[in-house]
Amino acid sequence: AQSVAQPEDQVNVAEGNPLTVKCTYSVSGNPYLFWYVQYPNRGLQFLLKYITGDNLVKGSYGFEAEFNKSQTSFHLKKPSALVSDSALYFCADRGRAAGNKLTFGGGTRVLVKP
């Protein structure tokens, strides 16, 4: 079975400081992992994905994520957070076959304070 978990309901960080949003996975075979962001009253926006290859994946808005097989993690990172990064972040996984659904973690609310 595929699943992802986000251990933190909320992360608070000061503007300019590094931001990390944690995600762990438990999947059989090779995971296919994603990060999405949801701004208030908006839909889900794709940030980045890991399929295979380089463990460090770069995405939109200056975000990146590191795939760590030994720790079964796929943490989202940003070197310097902005107040505008305040949002709800979702980690997700899906099977590799065409049309497979995304299964989301519980979400982590990020609050960046000025």
């Binding site: 994603f34 999405y36 908006r42 839909g43 889900l44 926006q45 794709f46 994905k49 709800l88 979702f90 590799r96 065409a98 049309g99 659904k101 995304l102 299964t103 989301f104 973690g105 519980g106 979400g107």
Partner: protein, 112 residues
């Protein structure tokens, strides 16, 4: 940039009424999905649709729910007899099969 569009953005209905939520997926996409999110919480999968039939559905997607692609562009979610607990944001998504899903802005359903 192509996007998934959803209507209405907000619908208020009485319990027991039928509701139809509409989606226009990105034009060259082949796979379509509905998800729901209750009060900014977890995003839950409802159903996936390909080649004019349901590919997969969750336990939430019971007999009160149905999906349809009535023409070449629209993808609809129907709730036959709404319940209070159906109040949620409903998101439509589409993709070409592999890769990321593209989501619409959502339809907020309020059941009174």
């Amino acid at each position: 940039e192509p996007e998934v569009t959803q209507t209405p953005s907000h619908q208020v209905t009485q319990m027991g009424q039928e509701v139809i939520l509409r989606c226009v997926p990105i034009s060259n996409h082949l796979y379509f999905y509905w998800y729901r999110q209750i009060l900014g919480q977890k995003v839950e999968f409802l159903v996936s649709f390909y080649n004019n039939e349901i590919s997969e559905k969750s336990e939430i997607f019971d007999d009160q729910f149905s999906v349809e692609r009535p023409d070449g562009s629209n993808f609809t979610l129907k709730i036959r007899s709404t319940k209070l607990e159906d109040s949620a944001m409903y998101f439509c998504a589409s993709n070409v099969g592999t890769g990321e899903l593209f989501f619409g802005e959502g339809s907020r359903l309020t059941v009174l």
